[in-house]
Amino acid sequence: MPDYSWPPMNDRRVIGKRISRLDGGAKSSGRAKYASDFYRKDLLFGMLLTSPHAHAKIVSINLDDAKSLKGVTAVRAIAAPGDEIQWEGAEIAAVAATSEEIARDAIRNIKVEYQVLPHLVKEEDLSKAGPRAKAAGEQVTGDPDKAFQDADAVVVEGFYGIPVLTHCCLESHGNVVEWRQDGLNLWPSTQNVSGIGGDLATSLKYPAGKIKVEMDYIGGGFGSKFAADRWGVETAYLSQMSGGRPVKLMLERRDELMIGGNRPSGFAKIKVAAKKDGTITAWQSESWATGGIGGGGSPPLPYVFTEIPNKRMSHSAVATNTGGVRAWRAPNHPQASYLTCSALEDLAAKLKMDPVDLFMKNLEVTARADTYRAQLVKASELIEWKKNWHQRGEGDPGPVKRGLGLAINTWGGGGHTSQCRTIINPDGSVQIEIGSQDVGSGTRTVITQVAAETLGLPVGSVQLVMGNNSLPPSGPSGGSTTVGGVSSSTRKSSVNALNKLLETVAPVMGVQPEQLKAVDGRIQMKDNPSKSMTWQAACAKLGTNKISEMGANDQRKPEGLNSSGVGGIQMADVSVDTETGIVKMNRFVAVQDVGLVVNPKLADSQIHGAVIMGICGALMEERVMDAYTGRMLNPDMEFYKLAGIGDIGEIISHLDITPEHDKRGVIGLGEPPAIGVVAAIANAVANAIGVRVPRVPLTPMHVLAALEGRNA
């Protein structure tokens, strides 16, 4: 059994270095090609007609006027008369044409008659949901009633809400499909290069082996781009109907925001009891959420503080006539962190206790008390908590109030199943082949670093081939599983390939293969560096035979190369103008637990990005539905707000890069720092202005309403 373990921290030449992302130049020069950039002279343009109604029955669809337009090559009805449409944006028909303009005209020429049905699109008021709310069974631990009635207990009750967000990928969902006689070519925008072809094959009832998938770059996914999707299937049929010409169909922005994916909401009435010293004794939560017609799953409550002795939790899934939910960066965790940390901060305020002390006091009911304890200390130091914190509402006397807040996170992040091939050529060149994808997290760079480290070469000597489904399969990029998976498979295939090379050159050097190692572009004796040969010379000994070796990571058996399970503490420092209701970010601190960090520069970027996405959610983002018409009121980027460069303040990330953390192997980082941001900011605002804003985003409207003591 070869030794695949990571080299000792101090011996690493490439892993752990702050190398700039290797595809950075391709992206920042505009040369990187995304699915939406596909350009060929015979390309056709596909487009969808989507439902303007939230709930309706199709009476008739007439495609004649669309088909008769010059330049239209295919028109298909997706829905049929009698079908019930359950959300605005549902796919009704699709067209392909020689130009986007003609396709748009064709869409306009399709005549659809709907019988409009009653809808429910808002879930904030559970009493209005009626039979659309389905209660899951109550979970009870200990004796919550008794604990709440304890004469010494301090009890706090609150209502908290976090709305549905949409993924709003900058490159909308979509693909190019060319369905030829001899096979089908798919150029998707996907987080799942190795798997999406099989998904499409199933829908088309077409042999998966005849579907070729290629994708070099993806313009954002965040959990919403795993499947071939309805529009992918339709694009294939449009191509087939158009004589096999390639058809590009990317969702229009409004459809992207309605059907391209959304994160379920989370509302809850929460009651918490504690002793006067802050020890939490009881938790009660009645939560509800929607993620579309399928309802919405329960956030894991209470979050992190799971072992509170007395608990009662109930959850209702509210089925609304809105687009379907998709996974979003740490599914259900941001909601759970927000709901839990808000209630705990309110408890601390009632106890007149510093919330850091309250968290400290209760760490024994979490799964990683030591980690959080150290992180609370570190984060407090970085944000100067002791200097800047004040009792709730007791800050600056002027109209602009400053406040601090904190939140907690936990995540898995173990590596997914992944295969990789390392090829060493007689001319010394090295190729890594892997059916993975770089969603912007830096996967390309990480894989290359691992291969280079293992082979004792600089990153520039390793050529990486990824992004198509003929390569060794690797899992989809979700759950922060990619970095652990691909780094482990790359390590193994490269160790295997190197061992083959060492077996070839050892006899030439008159030593045993085990006595050799690869370092700094040379093959040398471990205990006698002067006995060595260059990498080139060593590879030349291969004659005409290249080395091609596989390596695999098994999600269930990571063999120490990667692992799972982290915690994090996040703190926000905000200023709130109580006259305008505007919240301004001063500083945000993210202290995050990690394992072996392959590239600290990219790790920092992951944290910064996660925090900024959380700032968007805390201050701006919300899918706004109109109860009367059932339509989304802000399916565009003017009114579906994202933070700009001036909205984020200073962001400080902290990773413990120590032997103790490193020995756990690689752990994914994309999701955990995205979890507690909304919670920390909401708590900071409560600390600043002295009242709880009961729901996010913390827009001026919601902040002013809370200050006036009414519900927004």
Partner: protein
């Protein structure tokens, strides 16, 4: 309650109407600044597709477009310049940013026919093949990008900003780059990248 398909008052339909009425102005402008061997220009353009000449990255390009086609769509769908991205498609996010006559513009809000006779610079024209413009290079070294989809727009906006503000403060960068949006959250790197590019460009006075 029954309803027919709604009329679909999209911005496209709106622009189409505006485009037709404003073409006379566009044609006059073009006559004054005629390029080498352009298409013969009709006095009125539309409603059908018409030949026009655009000057992109210093070179004339002949295309045939309907008056309603935006400069962005003309570049992406007809000229094959896909560095500028279509994201919000209505002048909010800046992913389609190009320079027109030296000024930063959202190419999704300019009709192709109105861009005739004007000097259009895209990300593709920023540096010769195989080379990186100092702004692009700074986005790499400061990691001002993740998925990269907003990045060409950011780079062009930063270039235009630095042309006017060669020695910006941190606050000016935040204000000057406020017209571009990123979903991955790359602003920390972008801020540093623009400041680094300013330093680099001051040193070399790069075009």
């Amino acid at each position: 309650m029954k309803s027919k398909n709604p009329p679909g008052t999209s911005r496209r339909g709106f622009i189409r109407g505006v485009g037709i009425t404003s073409t006379a102005v566009g044609a006059v402008v073009l006559e004054k600044t005629a390029l080498a061997e352009p298409f013969a220009v009709a006095k009125t353009i539309g409603p059908d597709a018409a030949p026009i000449t655009l000057k992109v990255n210093g070179k004339p390009v002949n295309i045939i477009v309907e008056p309603r086609v935006t400069l962005l769509d003309a570049m992406r769908n007809q000229i094959g310049l896909t560095g500028a991205k279509r994201v919000c498609d209505r002048g909010t996010c800046g992913a389609c940013t190009v320079m027109i006559d030296g000024k930063v513009n959202y190419s999704c809000t300019v009709l192709a026919i109105d861009a005739q006779g004007r000097d259009i610079q895209t990300i593709e024209g920023l540096a010769p093949a195989g080379k990186l413009h100092p702004v692009s290079a700074a986005f790499v070294s400061q990691d001002g990008q993740q998925c990269g989809y907003c990045t060409p727009g950011f780079v062009m906006a930063a270039k235009g900003f630095l042309d006017r503000n060669p020695d910006p403060s941190y606050e000016q960068v935040e204000h000057g780059l406020g017209g571009n949006l990123c979903r991955c959250g790359t602003y920390v790197g972008v801020r540093k990248a623009v400041l680094e590019a300013a330093k680099e460009m001051k040193g070399s006075r790069h075009a």
